[in-house]
Symmetry: C2
């Protein structure tokens, strides 16, 4: 595969500036990079020759000779993939990581990695063809699993049976002929926040991902921190109690066994069957099953049982966050992946638990907020993940 990308650190910085801040004038960019004009022009020419940057018209005049605007070239398109436990979401972004085209469909991850990865490749190839491109600049993939990033494969993923060590990265790279990166979904969503969300303003933040699986991305000192073996942020199976409910991982009392979507739904079904909630009982009778959206809907509509379930899960998550926040001392905690509408209830309980018991230096003024990126976080983050690699000096 032909490797296209910056040849040196200055070219890499230029590409990242254009990705993160959008089109800018040559004069501003040369200043930002601290390069003499001639040298700057030579670097731009080399990037333009590779089809990575292009002129986007004249810049607003600052007096004197008019400068022209540069931008990432139109033909630079990143692929982004989110494998959810029930949903596959594939997108193309431009070089500034704005989602341009997107296709989502249900997926059964228990069909195994070959079938799902084949479908990912098909969808990416389709979007690539619709965009009239011969090649993607790269693809970033978010999996609901612990991922050994150097290997490009999930490791012992409770939610992806049969995917252990499947070479997701290398399979997609070989099929599409472009660089691919794979990471855990909470990490990828943290990257999305860093690029386009509230996280943009902070070097140090935690992104907490709710859902069937509960995870956390650690943005420390402006970079995603993955730990010694890509395991940082795996909070889903931390023990909340010695003898709580059984978890999919085989242990008892894990965070996910209390706070994961499935756990909430299971408790809601029990409550409905026991006649403790008319709202949940009616819904169960009508649909034959409950979803997290049903639980959220009942809670928002004021059903006390549903509200108690949500509040209890949030309070338990808050207990875990007390430790993590005191330990890492982030500037902000961003929470994403909550069922629509349920955020404010969750937030109130989580804040209560965290503010009540954390240390003054770590949390005196630390905000806890909801993500405002909704389900685009993982797609923007996937594009960010691979663009960080493609826009790095060789």
């Amino acid at each position: 595969m032909t490797m296209i990308g910056p040849e040196n650190a200055d070219q890499a910085r230029l590409l990242r500036l254009l990705r993160d801040d959008g089109p800018r004038s040559r004069v501003e960019l040369a200043d930002a990079l601290g390069l003499p004009r001639a040298r700057f022009g030579a670097e731009v020419d080399r990037l333009a020759g590779q089809g990575l940057v292009e002129t986007a018209g004249p810049a607003a005049s600052r007096g004197g000779r008019r400068s022209s605007l540069l931008r990432i070239a139109e033909q630079v398109r990143f692929g982004a993939v989110t494998v959810g436990e029930g949903r596959l979401d594939v997108a193309l972004t431009d070089g500034e990581l704005t989602v341009l085209a997107r296709q989502a469909e249900p997926v059964d991850v228990r069909l195994g990695p070959e079938a799902v990865v084949d479908r990912v490749v098909e969808l990416l190839a389709k979007l690539r063809a619709e965009a009239g491109l011969a090649r993607l600049a790269g693809v970033g993939v978010a999996l609901p699993a612990p991922v050994a990033v150097r290997e490009g494969a999930p490791v012992s993923p409770p939610a992806l049976p049969g995917w252990h060590h499947f070479p997701v990265r290398d399979t997609i790279a070989a099929e599409l002929g472009c660089p691919v990166q794979v990471d855990n979904d909470a990490n990828v969503m943290a990257l999305g926040e860093q690029h386009a969300g509230t996280g943009r303003a902070f070097d140090d933040f935690l992104y907490v991902k709710l859902g069937n699986a509960v995870g956390c991305g650690l943005m420390l000192g402006g970079a995603l921190y993955r730990g010694a073996t890509s395991g940082a942020g795996d909070i889903g199976h931390l023990p909340l109690s010695e003898d709580g409910p059984l978890c999919v991982c085989g242990n008892t009392g894990c965070v996910e066994a209390y706070c994961g979507d499935s756990a909430l739904v299971r408790q809601a079904v029990t409550a409905a069957r026991a006649g403790r909630s008319t709202a949940l009982g009616d819904r169960l009778a009508a649909a034959g099953a409950l979803t997290i959206a049903d639980v959220a809907g009942a809670a928002i509509a004021g059903d006390p049982t549903a509200q108690a379930l949500v509040r209890d899960a949030a309070r338990r998550l808050g207990q875990v966050l007390v430790d993590l926040v005191s330990f890492v001392n982030p500037a902000i905690v961003i929470i994403g992946g909550a069922a629509p509408g349920i955020g404010p209830v969750l937030l109130a309980e989580i804040r209560g638990a965290v503010y009540r018991r954390s240390t003054p230096l770590a949390t005196g003024s630390m905000p806890i907020v909801l993500s405002d990126l909704d389900d685009r976080a993982a797609l923007i983050g996937g594009a960010r993940l691979i663009s960080d690699q493609v826009f790095a000096a060789c």
Copy 2:
């Protein structure tokens, strides 16, 4: 004050190489820095002119023209200070951070920061005079407190009443006319481990500091991670239970209220008075009080009550570490500050608690070990702290 130090990144890297690896030949160093010989020679000349490096004799021959060895100049001496809750420890190190001279004495931190800092300055001036130096290259200070590093002062320190926002850094710097850095003792000890301990081999480790106060230093990606407001690693006041013993911080059930030395001693006194331990009872009757060394001694000698106290504290510390280790995914955990001889008992319990409940990707092969630096960790770390600043490009 005259600022002495490297003028550029290459000079800074050269000084750090010599600090970390000791004397090396000019040929090796030029290779390691990737500098042409003439340029390398010019940088060395400038550092030698500032009195920062010097020739240490001929290098072993590798054939061809003989190279000479370079080292940090003899006159480069760092001061290191550890303020313990009952003990002041002051040292001078050479440029490779080996402790050359040291003086320790009891201290009562409740006398307030002015008295203690005055004494620190006196002791440093005395060691400086004995070494025949006009000036120290810098001083690193470890405090048993949360420290706002940018401000150079402790913040709301439970163990240092009256020290809140006292300008420890600036006071010492003004008195001694050299750069000073102040940090939390667990952070400083982690730096000591990074320089001269087991931590040398790892980019990502946690250093857990036991003692009256319990703290943690986070070495992430080869650098000390302090968090958004210097609060990272403050684990002493994490809640282990909602309604445990009262802590000095005013909350109940904190880690320190279970695992700190004072908590262990308090429980030992209670046990001795209740006649539950002959060994502790005899010691209390003889000395009128117990120390952590007494508790450790009784545990090592096989006293079942003392052993149970130590085991219980270690198990509770292990419960906290499960969360932190899963969250940060370090390559290794290093435990320091335990009372002499007690380490193996502690370690067995901590390992049991951590290995039993942590996630496979984070801890499948993660060692938990005792520090082998004993009470030098904080002094070497103090020198490392200030040398990282002095040996950085201006």
